[in-house]
Amino acid sequence: TDLEVTHWWTSGAEAAAIRVISEGFQKSGNTWVDGAIAGAGGVARPLITSRITGGDPMGATQFTHGQAMRELIEAGFMRDVTEVAEAQGWKDQIFPQSLLDSCTFEGKLYCVPSNIHSQQWLWLNNAVFTDNGLSVPQNWDEFVAAAPKLREMDIIPLAQGQQSWQKQLMFNVLMVSIGGPELFERVYAGRDADYAAGSDVAKVFKAAAEARDLMEGSNVQAWNEAANLMISGRAAGQIMGDWVQGEFTQAGMTAGEDFSCLPGLGVNEYITAAGDAFYFPKVDDPEIIAAQDVLAGVIVSPETQVEFTKAKGALPVRRDVELRDPTPCMEKGMAILKEGHIVESINTMVSPDTVGRVTDLMIEFFADPSFSPETAQAEFAEIIATAD
């Protein structure tokens, strides 16, 4: 059967990863109809929701987990795959547990997690430091301390793309890493506005203001262009998710030797265990339903997971798979996962609307040096007060 799968994995590594799934799926005798659309937020999401609500659903679709899908599930547009999960005993294998939790609605499982991506990393180009007679920083504070020297050498301390999600990512990474996981969860999950306005969070905003200074001169749009600044030595570091590794690898750099990675910015080594997931719209055709079940199985199957995570540079969603040729950074991540140093993703804690408002605030804050951290914090607290 033909199964149309929409996703926004169009870059080289991503495409290679999706090929793993599609090949695994096609082994079952079904056909994978690829519906790739570049650009997650702007283009793919309206398309996917329109298709589903418009009565012309695809067979399966990639989506970030979280509250984004909740309404579609509530409205009965999505199929639950509880049966497949139970039959294949996902509960025991899928790790961490939160992955399944965020797919669960009223006791039923509505999505299949495919991989884990963590965001809280500071990446550093070692050569930039050593060449300038600096030691490679081991945490955020050292990094900040090294910045003035870098500036003298006409090097941008911290690279950063201009896209809005990167600003949001940056801020929330600082929140987890500088403020700590409790703070993060108290603000978003607990929606404690008073706390958000308090002195603990103020530290985070101070750090954000520092980061803002460090990023000055980083005039690129995309995250990988920012990574390129770093690779080429024009910038020293970048705060970005683990997917950025692929860029280093492609540039022929080796983790540990040519570049360093500091999870939790070397301060609070906690990472988000969120990632991508596949959802299955409700359809009538039994053949398609069967194909959906097959795909669900293929995605979490150990064979797929090994190849897939390798291709994508992500962490697997099962505890029982061994990474093949993991980089030191991936091993660090795996270790943190195993320790359970996990924070929930912002997407599962608050609605996309709230995320959007935080994002807008951060866009402004990071773009405008005269935007004081105090004002930003006050506005942030207000958003938290009305968050949902």
């Binding site: 909740r70 005039n219 959007g356 408002r357 773009a367």
Partner: protein
């Protein structure tokens, strides 16, 4: 010869009415219907899906308390006014130059018109490129030896709109030129002769005689440019993504992001309703004057 009675109102011009059904349906169902639908749902708490949980004016209160929305409106106003003026001026200037019975008229006209054949997405991408300080115009000029030359409008909050404007003008002014050229060619030769005999200099003739005579052309042009300005979205997306900061956000993008990224339909509906109201307030009186009472021919 038939001896029929006076046909009743409905059957008069029956074919014409049948033929107009698509138009009537479009006008009523799509433009009116969908607008009303949008307005109605702007009073709800719709998120990803339309819901009927009424919240009164909450969405509007929030909208007008959102800085991004206010910035978007301000940006559109600045961009719109500048675009209107500059597109008309540039389009007219081009048309006037081309109308001087020049050689290679076809060539010049094609050069000025071709950008219109390209999409806003392409326009935005190319100009993003050209205005990129790393390898665009600034880079090229610097490599000629002007080390301090700075031209990076897209990376400066204060100038980013002008960067977008450069691209927008590049795209649209050719069409304006075409319309203006058609208008100029439609002007009675004798009027030109009369001004020559009166000894009026050319610029004065254009300003005081020709332009006032081209009113219908200006109106058509105005409709075309204005409708494009209000919809401004693709260009911004491709060129700046709304940045730096919120410096090049526009209402259409606000609506889109609200509806599909933040998944807050109602907020998007509220924003679009405001745009709609603004359009109607401006357009209806004008459209009534222009198209309402007009006789044939």
């Amino acid at each position: 010869m038939s001896q029929s009675g006076k046909p009743t109102g409905l059957f008069k011009n029956l074919s014409a009415k049948i033929a107009a059904v698509p138009m009537v349906l479009t006008a009523l169902v799509v433009f009116v219907g969908c607008s009303v639908w949008t307005i109605v749902y702007s009073f709800t708490n719709s998120r990803l899906l339309p819901s009927t949980k009424w919240v009164g004016l909450d969405q509007y209160e929030r909208l007008w308390g959102t800085r991004r929305w206010l910035i978007s409106i301000e940006n559109l106003a600045i961009y719109g006014i500048l675009m209107l003026i500059l597109a008309l001026v540039l389009g007219f200037l081009l048309a006037a130059l081309i109308d001087q019975k020049i050689r290679f008229e076809d060539g010049f006209r094609t050069i000025f018109l071709y950008p219109y054949a390209l999409s806003f997405i392409v326009t935005g991408l190319v100009w993003q490129w050209l205005l990129n300080p790393e390898f665009g115009i600034q880079h090229a000029v610097r490599s000629l030896g002007f080390e301090t030359f700075t031209f990076d409008p897209l990376y400066n909050t204060n100038t980013v709109l002008y960067g977008v404007l450069i691209a927008g003008l590049w795209h649209t002014s050719g069409l304006v030129m075409c319309l203006m050229l058609a208008g100029l060619r439609g002007i009675d030769e004798d009027v030109w002769k009369a001004t020559k005999i009166d000894g009026i200099p050319a610029w004065k003739t254009y300003l005081l005689v020709v332009i006032p005579m081209m009113r219908p052309v200006f109106i058509t042009t105005l409709v075309l440019i204005t409708s494009a300005i209000i919809k401004l979205y693709d260009l911004v997306i491709a060129q700046t993504g709304g940045g730096p900061g919120l410096a090049s956000e526009v209402p259409a993008k606000f609506v889109f992001d609200m509806m599909f990224v933040s998944q807050n339909l109602a907020q998007g509906f509220a924003a679009s309703s405001m745009m709609l109201v603004a359009v109607i307030v401006v357009i209806i009186p004008w459209a009534y004057l222009e198209f309402g009472g007009k006789k044939h021919g």
